[in-house]
Each structure stands twice: as C-alpha cells, then as structure tokens.
Subunit: 340 residues, 2 copies
C-alpha cells in the first residue's frame, strides 16, 4: 500500500521486512493448519481461500524499529525479537477487530468476518503465545528479559484497550484519560519495539530506557496523526473513510480535545454526537467543522509536533551510531506523516 | 465444591492452593481495574459486582502438580511456575466459553455472559500474557526454559481447541483424531504442569521428560473420565447436567468410539444425532444407551484405566522421592475418579 503522495516507506523498513518475514512465516507454520490459515490471511500472506496473496502483508514498521534497536546497542540482529513485536501487533489487531466489531481491515474483510469469531479469537491467542515462544528460543543473551518486556507491554496494551472499550459507554472522558488510553494502546508496543532489540542483545539499561522513551513519544505522535486521519482522511492510505471516527462516535484525541475545550463549538459537538441513531453525512461534516472550531484539530497537530520533538530529544540523548539515529528518525517521521 | 461421595481433594492440592493463591492474586492485581474485575470473577474470587465470593476459586490442581514437579527435582518451590499454569488454564476456559457459546461455568454464569464478549476476550488475553510475565520474573534458574515450555503448551492447547471446533462441522471424526484433540486440549497443559516445576528449578532433562509423559497420560485419563461424566453425570460435581454432551452433540471420546465402532448400535446413534433441531430427553436417553451398547462406555473406561496404568509406569521410571511420588499418584487418581 502506498502512503500519501511524496511519503515513501523508509528503506530501513523494507530491509527489515525482508529480514523478518521468513522468521515470521516459519513461526506461523508451526501452528495447526486451521489456525495457521487464519493467521496467514490476517497477516496478508493469503486470501480467504488460502491462496498466496499478491501484495502480501503489512509494512513491518515495528520489526524495523526492533531491528534498529538491536543495532543501536550492538552490531547484532535479533530477528526473533523483531518478529515477536509483529506477532503481538497482529494479535492485538485480530482481537481488537472482534471487540470493536470492525468488519474491515486494510481494505479487506477482517479475519473474524471471514473465518468466524471462534477461529479469530484462537488465531489471536496463537500469535500471542508464538511471540513468547519465538523470543525465548532465540540465542540473544537478553532474550528472557526481552520476553518479559513484551509480556508487560501486552498488559499495557490491554489496559489501553480496556479504557477504549470503557470510553464507548461514557460521555465524560477527559483528555488526560484519552492520552493514557493512547499511551497504552499505541505507545506501549512502539516503545517496546524501539527498546526490545537493545534489551535482547543485552545492551546498556540507560540506552534501552532512552529508546523506550523515544518510542513512547513516537507512538503518541502516531496516534494523534492517525486520529486526524480518522476525521479528515485519507482513505487510500488508511482504508478508513473520511469522517469515520465521527461516524462511529469514537472518543479519539482531537474529538475529546474539542469536547473538553469549554468552547461553544465543543458543546454543540457534544449535542450533535449525543443524537440517537446513525448520524447523517451533513451532520458528520458539521461535527468535523466543530472539532476544528473548538480547537481540537490545532491542538492535535501541535501536540503531535511536540511529541515528535520530545522523541527527537530522547534519541539525541541516547548517543546512537549516526546511521541508526537517522533511520529511527526517518521511521518516526514516516509514522506520523501518513497515518499507518 | 465437593467431589463424588468418598472422593476428597488430596491434601497436597489444598496445600498448594494456599501457597499459590497469594501469588495469583498479586499477579491479577497488576491488571487494569476493569480487566482485573473480570479475571477475579472468572477465578471465583468475586461475584459479578466485585464483592468477594465466599467459596472462592477452583481447586488449583495444575498448580499442585507444578509444585510437586519442582519438588521432584529439588528441595525448592517455584510458585511462579505453578501460578502460571493456573493462569493459562483460566485463560483457556475464558476463551473456550466464548468460542463454544457456553453461558455457564462451575454453577455460575460464564464471564462473557456477565461482562460481555469484548471484556472476556481481553481478560483471557491478559491472563495469558500475565502467565509469561510472572514466570519470567521468577528467580528460578530455568525460568526462561519454563516460559518457553508454557508457550509451546499454549500452541498445543490451541491446536486441540481448533480441532474441537472443526469437529462440530464434521460427521467423519475418527477416534484417532479425537484422541489427538484431547491430547492437545487437555493433555498438554497437565503434562506441562507435571514437568514445568522440574524445568524451572533446572532439574535433569530425563526427569522432566518422565514427568511430562506421566502428565500426558493422566490428562487423557482425565478427559476420558470427564467425557463419561458428560453423558452419565454427575451434575453436582461437574456443573454439567446428565446427557449434556449428547444434548450438545459433542464429539467426545466415548461418543466417537461408539460412532466408529462399526456396530448397528453405532449406526443407530449416528442416525439419532443427525436429526435436526434440539433432541428430546427420551432421544438423549436412547442415545446414551446406544453409546453403551456400541461399546463406547466400556472402551472409555478401559482406555482410562490403561492411561492411568501407563502414567504410573512413567512415574515409577522417574525415581522420585516417595512422598512426591505418592502425592502425584493421589492427584492422578483424584482427577480421573471425579471428573473435574
């Protein structure tokens, strides 16, 4: 999938994908045939009938961060750690689509919509367990610490998703809670990807800490950019139609910023979103204008920029080899400039 | 919950439960409040409103096996390994109830029926991740190998559950496939519980192997006993009404043994179960009689005995301290004499 015009996938991502995909495929091939088929579909390697898919798979941004993270600490790769982050990402998307009732993922039907909920629950479970298995059979010296980091990350991820589900039933979500949700749901796995390689190769603890802090900020900047796309497009890049987060009444960051702005536009937005039943297109366009009028868009854009700047400072403090530094910054900019 | 008259919970199980429960509670308390509440309900510690439940929790058979497994290899406990097996067991029950649509578990409403599917999916995910986290922060010398064993076990568990789901759509399940399903779904975690303690304390590999083989046989004997209860009772012990596996047309071991027996009774049973719609009570009683007539009951009883004998031989070959040997045999007999 291509990004916005002028935004191309960084070469380090393409290179990492080529390194990690064989490890991922070998891991998935250990699963029983039924579960392996659901996983292969979800990962974009196969169509619903099990035939190889021509385009094939996501961009492997998290594995690229993990590969660079190992190189930041040592002249070594730790591909199992990189593959494990992608497996956890895939697990969380599989289960999130079921929980959120999202029937579409990356321009295709979601796995649960094709294979049914039971098979999709099971495939998610399998990918989560496989991530631990893979990491623990690696011969990287810090593999047990890396596996523990990944497990703690999954706990944070789940806490974020639990908050997100809770938000659906509430109309008093604060911006602080919303940031906490995004930190768990998006920030934690990107922070983990940015540090797990350094942990796996037994790199210095302060280095892993700086990389994790970098990733947490990048993750939030990414979520803010994604939330902006969830209102104002672009469907070609994200697979989400314009206005989709307003259509689903999602408590995304710009929307909550607008709702809690104390402005008249914010109050009118709340009244619009409180109407029962599906919201007509004209109302959605009006709601988007109100998010902007209430300052939600400007806040999210500024906040994304602050987060990216903070990420850059953490990275500078890490004192990395220049090539690794440049590649990590490249991915951070890519993530926050296109949305997915 | 009491067992059959005359079958009491072995003292080693009660003792292990007292050792492991605080570790489990501390682990669950790390989860976000919403997920922790679902987990506490599912584990029997709280009611649907979050109030402490008077009876509280399962019997902790798997943790007891894990505690004994560590003692078989060393004069050491490895309570995190024991707690991790219980967390994986709880995870699998949580998700299985959703997949199977079972609204009742241990005489109470299943967690998904109380809190909704999304919260129950998430709580299962959390318990699975927590098992790895707990194991990896243990200071037992073999903790990384133990965590890997647990991850591989989850893969086997999932393969068994995937087969079970597939069986629902098939009418040509062989007895061999059915045994393979039971080995995955039930045998693998009991085999893991019986060996994970020895692995975690870095015990000799052949000892862990013998303990695992013991557990695999015990697991199958347990499943056979459970399947007999699924047809002929007893509801007080299992929470399942008499004839429940016939009512749900489950492809359990005695039923598949009868269906594939090549007898006239087996063919009549197949015809009965193929009828559309819910089966009336009289038909269910007739079906149970046909399972017996086709030799399904006798086969399952004999097979359970063979498995228990084989388990005993594996245990004898392990050369354990006599007290540990006796306690393990006690649990094996308990598991196969009451059903749960």
């Amino acid at each position: 999938m291509s990004g916005r015009p002028g935004v191309i996938v960084p070469p380090s991502v393409t290179a990492a994908r080529e390194l990690v995909e064989p490890v991922l495929r070998a891991a998935v091939s250990r699963l029983d045939p039924v579960t392996a088929r659901v996983a292969a579909y979800h990962l974009g390697w196969a169509d619903a009938d099990g035939r190889p898919a021509p385009s094939g798979g996501g961009k492997a941004l998290r594995p690229a961060l993990a590969v660079l993270s190992a190189r930041a600490a040592a002249a070594a790769d730790c591909l199992h750690a990189a593959a494990a982050t992608e497996l956890v990402h895939a697990f969380s998307l599989l289960h999130d689509d079921i929980m959120d009732g999202d029937a579409t993922r990356r321009h295709r039907r979601a796995a649960w919509a094709v294979f049914g909920e039971p098979a999709a629950i099971l495939a998610g479970d399998a990918l989560l367990a496989l991530a631990g298995e893979l990491l623990l059979e690696d011969d990287c010296p810090g593999h047990a610490r890396a596996a523990r980091l990944l497990a703690v990350t999954v706990r944070d991820l789940i806490a974020g998703q639990a908050l997100d589900l809770e938000f659906e039933r509430r109309d008093d979500v604060t911006l602080d809670e919303c940031l906490r949700m995004a930190a768990g749901k998006t920030g934690s796995l990107i922070a983990c990807a940015c540090s797990i390689g350094a942990v796996a190769v037994d790199g210095p603890v302060p280095l892993a800490g700086a990389l994790s802090a970098f990733g947490a900020e990048v993750g939030l900047a990414f979520q803010l950019a994604d939330d902006l796309l969830g209102i104002w497009g672009a469907p070609a890049a994200t697979g989400k139609p314009v206005l989709s987060d307003l259509r689903s009444r999602k408590k995304s960051l710009p929307i909550v910023a607008a709702l809690t702005s104390g402005t008249r536009a914010g109050d009118r937005l709340a009244a619009l979103l409180a109407a029962p039943g599906p919201l007509p297109e004209a109302t959605l366009r009006q709601a988007a204008a109100l998010v902007e009028e209430a300052g939600g868009r400007a806040w999210a854009e500024a906040e994304a920029k602050h987060r990216l700047d903070a990420a850059g400072r953490h990275l500078a403090a890490a004192g990395l080899p220049p090539a690794v530094h440049a590649d990590l910054l490249d991915i951070a900019r890519f993530l926050t400039s296109r949305g997915h």
